[in-house]
């Protein structure tokens, strides 16, 4: 039975608004995804100062192309036209456009889904950009405005079914909210701020995520994974953020210990040896990643004491990372 799920899949700038994770973790064993491609999308007819509806549409098309061009993923999009429909209308159209949401004063944009809660198949996904902010589509960015394309690439990640990535570092601001020091994925929940255009380009974590969800050709045979458990003593360290780093390629890809036993699995890795680092999920609000009540964030950053090899076309032996309390 399809249902509309209006979720806080948002891109924020100073406040937290989700490592590569699949939003579909909440849909039983099914993953939220598009079955039929090309996925048709509509742009609304509304522009904002500095960004006409036409320029907005071409910018959004570029952002879609960024995901479509991932060589290891097979997903296609088609612009279906301009529409007077609004994002968040339950009308079967995937509409993308500006809306005024002054009550969401720290939210740059958000994505909603209509999906079959048995199969996870997406029926509709809408994206809004909050027009209370000043926006830019300048090629090099505008230091005083937020970049439409960067936020669009992030929101389209949600549109595809991806959740938030936790690969990033933030610090608390005295006036509230968080300031991003660094982000390792377009899907990190908090924007780098005005003027930044870095999120126009996908990172390894984003590419692994979309390729795992929409694998193309040989992706599953040519990549591998690692899996294991994060433990604190005899108990699982649930919700721990696990990052794997390939010293040869520089790729950083993340996942979460969401299993009842603290289990995690990270797929889509270039075969080779990896550094495994486990950290508490403390750089953004936990509910921006997943809904768990017993997330353990009271432990020290820990490296697994061995390099772990990701094989081709499978996963290696399971291993336990034991973390120490703070």
């Amino acid at each position: 039975m399809p249902r509309l799920l209006l979720v806080a899949i948002v891109c924020a700038w100073t406040a937290p608004a989700l490592a590569y994770s699949h939003f579909g973790t909440g849909v039983g064993t099914a993953r939220v995804h598009w079955d039929d491609t090309p996925v048709r999308w509509f742009a609304t007819e509304r522009g904002v100062p500095g960004v006409t509806a036409s320029v907005f549409q071409t910018t959004i098309a570029r952002a879609f192309a960024t995901w479509q061009d991932v060589p290891t993923a097979s997903i296609e999009f088609a612009f279906a036209g301009f529409t007077a429909a609004e994002p968040f209308d339950e009308d079967g159209l995937s509409a993308i456009g500006f809306q005024d949401h002054p009550e969401m004063d720290r939210v740059l944009g958000a994505t909603t889904f209509l999906y079959d809660d048995e199969t996870g198949e997406l029926i509709e996904a809408d994206i809004f950009f909050n027009s209370i902010f000043e926006w830019s589509t300048a090629a090099g960015g505008d230091p005083d405005r937020f970049d439409v394309e960067s936020v669009a690439v992030h929101e389209i990640g949600h549109f595809l079914g991806l959740g938030h990535s936790a690969i990033g570092e933030t610090e608390l601001r005295p006036e509230g909210g968080r300031r991003v020091l660094g982000s390792g994925a377009v899907m990190f929940p908090i924007s780098l701020g005005r003027g930044s255009i870095v999120d126009r380009v996908l990172e390894a974590d984003d590419i692994a995520g979309v390729s795992d969800l929409y694998p193309d050709g040989n992706f599953e045979n040519s990549t591998g994974g690692v899996h294991g458990r994060v433990r604190r003593g005899s108990a699982p360290a649930k919700g721990a953020h696990v990052i794997v780093f390939n010293p040869r390629t520089g790729d950083l890809i993340g996942g979460f210990a969401l299993g009842d036993d603290g289990g995690f699995q990270i797929l889509g890795l270039t075969p080779g040896p990896y550094v495994v680092r486990v950290e508490p999920l403390d750089d953004a609000d936990i509910d921006s990643f997943f809904a768990l009540d017993d997330v353990d964030i009271d432990f020290l950053v820990t490296y697994y004491p061995r390099l772990v090899a990701a094989p081709s076309g499978g996963v290696g032996d399971s291993f336990d990372v034991t973390v120490r309390p703070k």
């Binding site: 020091l181 010293p247 080779g272 950053v301």
Partner: protein
């Protein structure tokens, strides 16, 4: 005087011609023992470590400046290779060589500078490294019993590494160049084993892809000692 000399030369030539003809018509003499054609050597030694480079785990920071999560430095540790060579003697100086080797080096990655203050740590992984290459060896002197024979050699071939838990096989290409000394202890013309001796090799081994760093090649110094038998 001059005419007499010419006469002697003619007589001598005729004599040589006679002997040649006689030899050709005489029953075949026993064939001389053949020289060794194949050498088999088995040995062990030391394969030096090598840097696999450094890599920073960087995030995209503000103002397009990278923000370092941690940094790493990787190397392949030294190991004790076992080596087998099969040499086909193409002549007194030139040898076609097939070389196989196995060793178990440790891959080591040091992690430092963690942004959240995690202490520096060294991570390791044991790999089984195999190589098989073909090459040419040139003896710089003819072999004589109890006399050192210096040689130079070079080759190229396959190198593979199997990671812990047989999780992953990585393969690459290796090139080697070097030289060494052979010291025949026994040389004989008869018998199945025609000789035996000891041999020392030193080489620079350059490895690309496989375990090598993503960019560029990995260089390792190797030194081995072997015993060899000639057949």
């Amino acid at each position: 005087m001059k005419a007499r000399s010419i006469c002697l030369f003619v007589v001598f030539d005729l004599f040589v011609a006679f002997l040649s003809t006689a030899a050709a018509q005489a029953p075949a003499a026993p064939r001389p023992p053949r020289s060794p054609r194949v050498e088999l050597s088995v040995g062990a030694g030391f394969l030096g470590g090598s840097s696999l480079g450094t890599a920073d785990a960087d995030l995209r920071g503000r103002s397009n400046q990278p923000f370092q999560l941690f940094d790493t430095s990787s190397r392949i540790g030294g190991s004790v290779p076992l080596e087998v060579r099969l040499d086909f003697l193409l002549g007194p100086r030139y040898v076609f060589e097939i070389r196989g080797a196995w060793s178990r080096p440790e891959l080591e990655t040091s992690v430092t500078g963690d942004v959240e203050g995690a202490p520096p740590v060294s991570l390791g992984e044991r790999v089984d490294q195999y190589s098989l290459d073909l090459g040419l060896l040139v003896n710089l002197r003819r072999a004589r019993s109890r006399s050192v024979v210096p040689f130079v050699s070079a080759g190229a071939g396959y190198v593979g590494a199997v990671h812990e838990g047989l999780a992953l096989l990585e393969s690459g290409i290796s090139f080697r160049g070097g030289g060494g000394l052979k010291y025949p202890l026994v040389m004989q013309r008869r018998g199945r084993i025609k000789g035996a001796g000891i041999r020392a090799d030193a080489a620079l081994i350059v490895m690309t892809s496989g375990l090598a760093a993503e960019s560029g090649a990995t260089r390792q110094l190797a030194a081995t000692g072997s015993v060899y038998f000639s057949f």
